[in-house]
Amino acid sequence: MITLGDYLIVSGILFAIGFAGVMLRRNLIIILMSLELMLNAANLSLVAFSRFRVLPTGLPDYNVQVFVFFIITVAAAEVAVGLAILVALFRARQTTDVKDISSLKF
């Protein structure tokens, strides 16, 4: 029997992998992909919560699943903007390495 805890563990592992990717990888495209991974880890935990919260009618709470759809669409838009920024940045700097992008540094 798969319990809520199992789902949450998988979600947590995914999130950790994403976070580690964002934190450790230098390539911006990989970082963006890792961000998506973190987002999906959150989505997974939300869906799991939805599945395991049974209302008095006997049905799961579908409100949360609708919410997850919203997150997926917004993430798609976000990826479009993020990739556009990335392309613009590459055109300006000829690099996608975060080490080379440090204008904010004092």
Partner: protein
């Protein structure tokens, strides 16, 4: 309305010159002279009439405690002063036409002169302390403007500042004195104060301090010891100014004020004694300094100091009649001496050193004659006016205070000495410079006033003339000794001076102490240096290091410092930010969930 006309005509002229006729020098001088002569005519009419009633109106009214009217005093004293001030003022205005003929700032000069006449007549006419004080300050201001007439010369600008600031010191005391009298009697009007004098006399210490503070004003304005230092420096101004303001009228305003408030001063014997001695010290000190000076105007300035000392001495000996009598004659002969000196100075192209003169009696006969008359009046040679008035003061001193009499007699000896020295060096012997040899007589516009003043200086002391103007001091028959002694020291001093200075080309006597004026200026410089300058330095230190560096600079530099510290956290690495961000979240979760 006559007093109003007499008072306001010069003011109107000053305003008209300043606003409209600055461009036209001729018109300005004409306006000013017309105004002062108008004022003189009004004064004569006031003098000849009696019982003129002037409606007075209230200017400031704060209930019974503080009420300031605008009104005039018209007693014999103020009437005499009115005629004296406007009369001598008129003569000096006319003389100025000649003296200031080619001056650039002629309009400015005549405007200031008119304003001075207004202020001086205001002092004479004022019937309360507040009006008196306002005109008193106005006189100080016009004196400042006129001393600094040639303001582009540093010496003149400095002298103007010195005169103003030194007299202000005295005026501050004067103001405190007025406030004390007002506190005691709830009134600033002279007649009311006289009625309520018993309130003051019931507190003798209070009265003495108030009287001495009032005297402070006279010390400043009449240049008495120890505030005398400004008057000799004031000779940097044009000579007619020295004659009018710093010899005949303004410096005498202090004595006039003392006489006006004599009823307060005479209620305090201590104050009287101090006043008498201050006058005596001034008289003898100034006469001593005058014996060693080389500038013709400075010698006259010190003799003015000395004579003012005599007047203050007379006030201190409780005889206002003698003080005013001497003021009256002194105004004539000192104005005369200054104007004659001015005539010499102009004809010698502004040479003032007496050792560069000599033999001028041939070249300037009218100036010489009038100067001699003035000099004889000054040293108190009978029958010139100074003899009578100085004799009155000496007789008074003989009767009331022997030490003062002895010092006064010694001063008379010194006076004869330095005046004869001046006469011998300037007018006799050989000419000691080229310009002195080539000089000629002044124009009529300058010699005219000289002749009129010489006439007045001659007859001014005779009873038949003077009694029309003032209450003469009563001559005691016992004091035959006094005029005899006075004449003896006069002959002694003159003889000694003639013997010492005949046919000399440079100073045979050498008293450094006297030539350097007893080091008063040096002493005051030192005093200012270790009081005011020290305070200024402390303030500058406080401002520079506590306010500037501490409060203002501290605020800005602490903001800078915190900024510099915080920007170390801006490493610029995205992933480092993220790491810190994640760490923060972990810490937050730890505190939110596990604590």
């Amino acid at each position: 309305m006559l007093p109003w006309y007499a008072l306001l005509l010069p003011l109107a002229s000053a305003i008209a010159i300043t606003l409209f006729t600055r461009r036209s020098k001729a018109l300005s001088s004409f306006l000013s002279i017309a105004a002062v002569i108008g004022s003189f005519v009004c004064s004569c009419l006031i003098f000849s009439q009696s019982g003129i009633h002037i409606p007075e109106f209230t200017w400031i009214d704060f209930g019974e405690g503080f009420k300031v009217p605008v009104g005039f005093t018209l007693d014999n004293l103020s009437k005499t002063m009115l005629v004296l001030v406007s009369g001598i003022g008129s003569l000096i205005h006319i003389y100025s036409l000649g003296y200031m003929r080619d001056d650039e700032g002629k309009s400015r000069y005549f405007a200031a002169l008119s304003l001075f006449m207004f202020a001086m007549l205001g002092i004479v006419l004022a019937n309360n302390f507040v009006m008196l004080f306002i005109f008193w300050e106005l006189v100080g201001f016009t004196s400042y403007v006129l001393i600094g007439h040639w303001f582009y010369r540093d010496a003149a600008a400095d002298a103007a500042k010195k005169a103003f600031i030194t007299t202000r010191i005295g005026d501050f005391g004067f103001m405190l004195g007025i406030l004390m009298v007002w506190m005691g009697t709830d009134s600033v009007v002279f007649t009311q104060i006289a009625q309520r004098l018993w309130i003051l006399t019931s507190h003798p210490a209070f009265l003495t301090i108030a009287a001495l503070l009032l005297f402070c004003g006279a010390v400043g304005k009449s240049a008495q010891f120890p505030l005398h230092v400004w008057l000799p420096d004031a000779m940097e101004g044009p000579t007619p100014i020295s004659a009018l303001i710093h010899a005949a009228t303004m410096v005498a305003a202090g004595v006039y004020m003392l006489v006006r408030v004599a009823f307060i001063i005479q209620a305090s014997p201590t104050a009287l004694l101090i006043i008498a001695w201050v006058g005596t010290i001034t008289a003898v000190m100034a006469a001593l300094i005058a014996t060693q000076q080389n500038d013709i105007k400075r010698i006259l300035a010190y003799s003015t100091l000395s004579q003012l000392g005599y007047m203050v001495m007379a006030v201190g000996l409780a005889s206002t009649e003698a003080a005013i009598f001497h003021l009256f004659t002194h105004a004539f002969f000192k104005a005369l001496l200054f104007l004659a000196a001015g005539s010499v100075i102009v004809m010698l192209h502004h040479e003032q050193n007496i050792w560069k003169m000599g033999g001028l009696s041939r070249n300037l006969p009218i100036t010489f004659l009038t100067f001699v008359i003035g000099a004889l009046a000054l040293i108190g040679c009978p029958p010139f006016s100074g003899f009578f008035s100085k004799d009155a003061i000496l007789a008074l001193a003989y009767e009331r205070n022997m030490p003062i009499f002895v010092v006064g007699l010694f001063t008379a000896f010194l006076t004869a000495f330095y005046v004869m020295r001046l006469l011998v060096i300037v007018f006799f012997g050989k000419s000691r410079s080229e310009i002195a040899r080539k000089s000629g007589e002044s124009p009529l516009v300058m010699t005219g006033p000289l002749i009129v003043l010489a006439l007045l200086a001659t007859i001014g002391g005779f009873t038949f003339f003077a009694r029309n103007f003032l209450a003469l001091p009563i001559e005691k028959e016992v004091a035959f000794l006094v005029p005899a002694l006075a004449i003896a020291v006069l002959i002694l001093g003159s003889g000694l001076a003639i013997a010492t200075y005949r046919n000399r080309t440079s100073e045979p006597l050498d008293f450094e102490l006297l030539r350097d004026k007893f080091y008063f200026d040096e002493f005051y410089n030192w005093l200012i240096d270790c009081t005011q300058e020290l305070l200024a330095r402390i303030c500058a230190f406080f401002d520079r290091w506590i306010i500037d560096a501490g409060v203002v600079g501290g605020t800005s530099s602490s903001a800078w410092g915190i900024g510099a510290l915080l920007r170390l956290a801006q490493v610029g690495n995205l992933q480092a930010y993220l790491f810190l961000f994640g760490l923060g979240i972990v810490v937050l979760i730890y505190f939110a969930v596990f604590r």
